[in-house]
Symmetry: C2
Subunit: 338 residues, 2 copies
């Protein structure tokens, strides 16, 4: 890795910054509610073995992943105590190759994904249930059959998983509780039929109200974003994209910074910024309309708050851990791509 500058203003922009104090606060807040193995941190939100190691040190040394590359990287980094691919995969051969160095469990929701696990020499699975989000997961009536089919092939069925992703960003927590109860009733019923020790579910938005899950699959809570921040969770926004003012138009009263679509995820909309409105983003630019009282000069640093943490992180090679204007560490984002 290139040498890490010690001051934020020495960084090449755009750069991904993580506020150490907010990060540490988020780790502690989550651990107080979900200690040890009642949390299975989701790697997809930060894609960094260095950050994962920090969670392992905090007692959370079991993880879930969304991609085979994330699983491989975690195993290779010695973080393979208990890795769950919380996603379906048709070619599991690269996962099978990891079973000597890590405990590997994969989600299955069909005969085809079960066959992929069997063919790859995977020894353990979870049955993935559809609990209301229109994505992966088998139907309740199919879960026991699939578990039986797995056991008939000599595979250990560790339990069930089901992600209530459609309920993550609800502001009305009473309605959210009702929704979670409906979703988790399906998962609890499946668990009765399937057996095993694990009921893996939940996420940052339901970390404290999902009382059916034996382990919560949360990842976004660590770094947070403006979308999740609207929900009113007890986690602090730790992630910004550091940019520089590269152009100022005095006629139009707008300011242009050097980060845009290629450094910020846009699926949840524009980033936000303190002291200005975001006019629009293009590939390598964001045009800002400063509020009255905000004065920026060409060359000034500006921190943008991204709307969605996971795909924003995936655009960068590393995140710089900062304490105010000091860079105190850097974590490689080493689990990208597929």
């Amino acid at each position: 890795m290139t040498e890490i500058p010690s001051a934020v203003d020495e960084l090449t922009t755009p750069a991904l910054l993580v506020d150490e104090s907010a990060l540490q606060s988020n780790i502690e807040t989550m651990s107080s509610v979900r200690p040890g193995h009642s949390l299975r941190p989701h790697i997809k939100a930060f894609k960094s073995t260095a950050l994962a190691a920090r969670l392992a040190d905090a007692g959370h040394d079991i993880f879930c992943c969304a991609t085979v590359t994330e699983m491989e990287g975690m195993a290779q980094a010695g973080l393979g105590t208990d890795l769950l691919l919380a996603n379906e995969v048709l070619d599991a051969s690269r996962l099978g190759a990891l079973t000597d160095v890590a405990r590997i469990t994969v989600a299955v929701d069909s005969d085809e994904t079960l066959a992929a696990a069997v063919n790859a020499g995977i020894k353990e699975v979870l049955i993935d249930l559809n609990v209301g989000l229109p994505r992966c997961g088998c139907e309740l009536e199919d879960s026991a059959r699939l578990a039986d089919a797995a056991r008939a092939k000599g595979i250990e069925v560790r339990g069930v998983m089901g992600y209530e992703g459609h309920l993550m960003d609800m502001v009305d927590r009473d309605k959210q509780r009702e929704g979670v109860a409906v979703s988790m009733a399906v998962l609890a019923k499946a668990h009765e039929m399937v057996g095993g020790d694990i009921v893996s579910a939940g996420g940052t938005g339901t970390f404290d109200i999902n009382d059916v899950a034996t382990e919560i699959q949360a990842g976004s809570y660590l770094l947070m974003d403006t979308h999740y921040a609207k929900v009113g969770l007890p986690f602090r926004r730790a992630l910004t994209v550091l940019c520089r003012v590269i152009s100022i138009n005095t006629n139009g009263n707008y300011v242009v910074v050097d980060g845009g679509l290629k450094s910020l995820a846009m699926d949840h909309g524009n980033p936000t910024v303190d002291g200005a409105d975001v006019f629009f983003c293009s590939d390598e630019h964001t045009t800002l309309i400063p509020h009255e009282g905000t004065t920026w000069a060409v060359g000034d640093l500006v921190r943008l708050w991204p709307a969605h943490v996971d795909p924003t992180v995936a655009k960068h090679e590393r995140m710089y851990v900062v304490d105010g204007d000091r860079v105190i560490d850097a974590y490689e984002i080493d689990l990208r791509h597929w």
Copy 2:
């Protein structure tokens, strides 16, 4: 690089595919209207020196870039005949270091960006004009002053640039012509005042109607996307994201494929797919509602058409060049990050 599979169905998904026949057609269509140096291909759209070399072979061996990393990579790849950073930069030291091996020109729109060029030992600049897009570029009345300031520092002013980006995706070409005329009148006036040989402007959407520019800065035309395709340009869509069906829900009649927000740019909206509607994208998934008559099985390959080419390419390590179901080449996307 890992060995390239010879068949599309051997690729790890998601994977970026480029259709060779569409790519070659786009190169030829553009060259017939903008031969040789009347086109300055924009590297930001594809971020690959291999693809740039192909354009150089087709007679377009002058390029523009949006980032310092793009400039560095092009120079190091021996493609530095005439490289323009068509963007503002405050720390040009890495560019200054390239002047021994490449011809380096940078855009300047302020005293600060001019000072950065001077400090870095850059020898040549273009004056960047605001021609209507609320982004970088100085005002007309400031352009001659800035050119004089540059020349007073011993810097060669090669001319002017101005990007009419607000007019790129207009469907009504008569209205677009009117808009381009207004924007280019500003640039032509600036050129009179500033001098130099170059009037650099335009893009894929105005490649054939901008008759003021001496060179067109187009890049998206090579690979195209669904957004540009709506405009009715003579370029073919060459870019898809190859995915696999990983889950099928027969109750909900939807199909889940293994590419989503992390492999597709979402700033111009959802991708599209032949034979189905896109329901929604999440990090590593897209949920599709198949049209009547579309039958997919778990494991089938599906090609998604991204809505915006530039930031989609930037998410991937390489693009596979394909002829139908055969992989015939692979281009590293080696100009990513900053």
